[in-house]
Amino acid sequence: MSIYTLGIDVGSTASKCIILKDGTEIVGKSLIDVGAGTSGPARAIEAAFESCGMKASDMAYTLATGYGRNSLENIADSQMSELSCHAKGASFLFPDVRTVIDIGGQDVKALHIENGAMVNFQMNDKCAAGTGRFLDVMAKVLEVEVNDLGDLGAQSTKRIAISSTCTVFAESEVISQLSMGTDKRDIINGIHHSVANRVVGLVNRIGVQDRVVMTGGVAQNKGIVAALEEGLGHTVYTSPLTQYNGALGAALFAYQKALRNVNK
């Protein structure tokens, strides 16, 4: 009989679920664009079950991760940090991964992986620069969709620098560039490099080793990935499942725990 497990990643800006069959096959998934403290987690769980026609009682084990993981104590069997879950998810998608970069809504993580497990990590400080939220703020000022930033930035023809690390000051800098008539696409490219520079510093602190994998929603932004590759001097791999990576890791850990329960 197959074992089904549910991984839930409640981030600061989105809630994601993955349902795994026997720890190998993704049978259900969902993503709701609101995170901890909202209806997001409950809606994401419901949507995940709907996507594969399953229900909570079919799950052998449920594991929650992410900023809002502790709010799911009544739903999840246990909680783990998003650090380990991102390491696990990335190792599933890229078995030879050694470095994981995750840019989330309000934090940035650099993970050092050995044999599929996280052995050390670095996270950003309290500053929001270099996080997904930074990009949200910039997209709003530029009157573009955050999902379009990657394509627009790729059309840039001139490198301009957004030097402020503070989100608020960077916003002022962008406004000032706009008022000078600078092309939005060049500003966006500058923003991508500004984010990448912050992240490169963090990743260098744990030591970059191939293969480098980027996870989290921001990995969908081609401009950031390219700027990171330039800054790190390494190829950065991403997956179409990038946004689900934390939830995938949680579902994989859930499978390990379910197996332990079966073998008890």
Partner: protein, 481 residues
């Protein structure tokens, strides 16, 4: 049942309480009271029988009593930037006469205005939470506390004698750190941090009092070079001369030597206590050392401190024999806690450590304050060595030595917004700990005194990540064994 406090801990508490009480009494009697940085040679002040208060210890106490924010804000209102060390801001606000006080209820003869947000839930005789008419938990009035407001001691002292003056004086927070006497002189040694220099210059100017300064250059070498020792030795001699002028007394060599002997004994006993953390499991919670630091700072040159640490060592020896510990949970992981604790958030700091069975078994304070010397030059050299004045190589050597001896599984680094020098070199140290010791390290943002710089959710994620990495390491070591 109330928690049992061991004889050693009680003795240590009394030593610090007495230092504060003696200073208050000295001031009443018109004697001089000085303020000193934590690693100014206390032996010099002891030789002149001076009563000394320690602003760093005071600020830590004020922060732990949750009055750090109001005092930091008071300093900011005076024009000090909020990037300045939180201890300095608290101390500068205090030196300017600012005090955290309970808000007086002037509509009554006595009493304070209670802050309705404070207090624990009220429980009935069966232990159930009592709800109000809106279905919200009622507060136990016995546990509710007044609003805290800012007072000004100079303004109060200028009032005519009477009930208003009395009430406003009484309203000042009653704990000892908020009731230290204003300084008559300041003793500053910038070995502990260069920020001290301007901090103490400001106090001296603000209060118009003498400043006795000992400047310790940063050590680029593993051990202090002879030129620096000569330079600092000359400053010791000058400080003695200044103290003679200040007190009108001649330097008493016998008293000085006695104080040196006591300081050495306190340091040795402090190290003895710290070394109990080498036991696995440890007979004490490493967090205890943060509290016992108060004795090393305020009373290192006093016999009572040395005796109290002796007594604490006896308590710990007993714990070893009986297989007990002051750690209120089983020790599963052992970490080095790097940096000064977030005093205003100590319970929040402890919570995830407790939940994950983490004991702090290493802190850098052991070598930083456990120094012993045999002569004046060795004493000068010893005062060159403080966490922020030694080279990064020396700092790594100190920490990695303790980590190995005290068998840590990981390192938890406090990136302390108040302490730029300390936090500045931590990224490199953290890299070396992982490379040299093979242990995971996690860093978190916080502050030693200003609660505005700490985020509990971020801290908990980092601790959980550290636990998961330590678990992986433990499994790997077990598989290799």
């Amino acid at each position: 049942m109330a928690k049992q406090v061991s004889p050693g801990v009680l003795a240590l508490r009394k030593v610090v309480d007495d230092v504060y009480a003696d200073a208050r009494e000295a001031k009443k009697q018109g004697k001089l009271v000085g303020w000193s940085s934590s690693k100014f040679p206390c032996e010099l002040a002891e030789a002149f029988d001076l009563n000394i208060m320690y602003p760093e210890n005071q600020a830590a106490g004020i922060a732990a009593q949750r009055d750090g924010e109001i005092m930091c804000q008071a300093a900011e209102d005076l024009g000090f930037d909020n990037d300045i060390c939180g201890y300095a801001r608290i101390s500068l606000a205090y030196a300017a006469g600012k005090r955290a006080a309970r808000k007086i209820d002037w509509s009554k003869e006595d009493g304070y205005v209670i802050n309705p947000a404070t207090g624990k839930p009220l429980k009935d005789e069966n232990g159930n939470v009592v709800l109000d008419e809106n279905g919200k938990p009622k507060k136990d009035p016995k546990t509710q506390t007044p609003y805290i407001v800012l007072e000004d001691i100079h303004e109060i002292e200028a009032l005519p004698e009477g009930r208003e003056k009395e009430r406003r004086l009484e309203s000042i927070q009653p704990y000892k750190q908020m009731r230290i006497p204003q300084p008559d002189f300041v003793l500053c040694c910038n070995n502990i941090c260069n920020c001290m220099t301007k901090w103490y210059e400001n106090i001296a100017r603000m209060c118009n009092i003498p400043l006795i300064m000992i400047d310790v250059p940063y050590n680029n070498t593993m051990d202090p070079n002879p030129e620096n020792v000569t330079y600092i030795r000359a400053q010791f001699d000058n400080a003695i001369h200044q103290l003679e002028e200040l007190t009108g007394k001649k330097f008493d060599q016998a008293k000085f030597e006695h104080a040196c002997a006591q300081a050495n004994r306190t340091a040795q006993n402090w190290l003895k206590v710290c070394n109990y953390l080498q036991y696995k499991p440890a007979p004490l919670s490493g967090f205890d050392l943060f509290n016992h630091m108060a004795d090393v700072v305020t009373a290192r040159g006093k016999k009572e401190a040395a005796d109290a640490f002796d007594l604490l060592a006896e308590d710990l020896e007993k714990n070893i024999k009986e297989g007990t510990s002051t750690l209120p949970f089983p020790e599963q992981y052992r970490v080095m806690f790097e940096g000064i604790p977030c005093w205003p958030k100590l319970p929040n700091l402890f919570k995830p450590l407790k939940a994950n069975g983490i004991n702090v078994t290493a802190v850098v304070y052991a070598p930083a304050f456990g120094f012993v010397y045999n002569n004046m030059d060795e004493m000068v050299s010893a005062y060159c060595k403080a966490p922020n004045s030694v080279s990064i190589e020396k700092g790594v050597e100190w920490r990695e030595g303790i980590c190995r001896e005290n068998k840590v599984d990981g390192v938890l680094v406090h990136y302390n917004r108040s302490c730029k020098p300390w936090s500045g070199y931590m990224a490199e140290m953290q890299r070396r700990f992982t490379a040299d010791l093979g242990v995971p390290c996690a860093g978190f943002d916080g502050d030693q005194a200003d609660p505005r710089n700490f985020n509990e959710a971020q801290y908990e994620t980092r601790v959980q990540g550290l636990v998961e990495a330590m678990q992986i390491r433990a499994e790997k070591l077990e598989a290799q064994a």
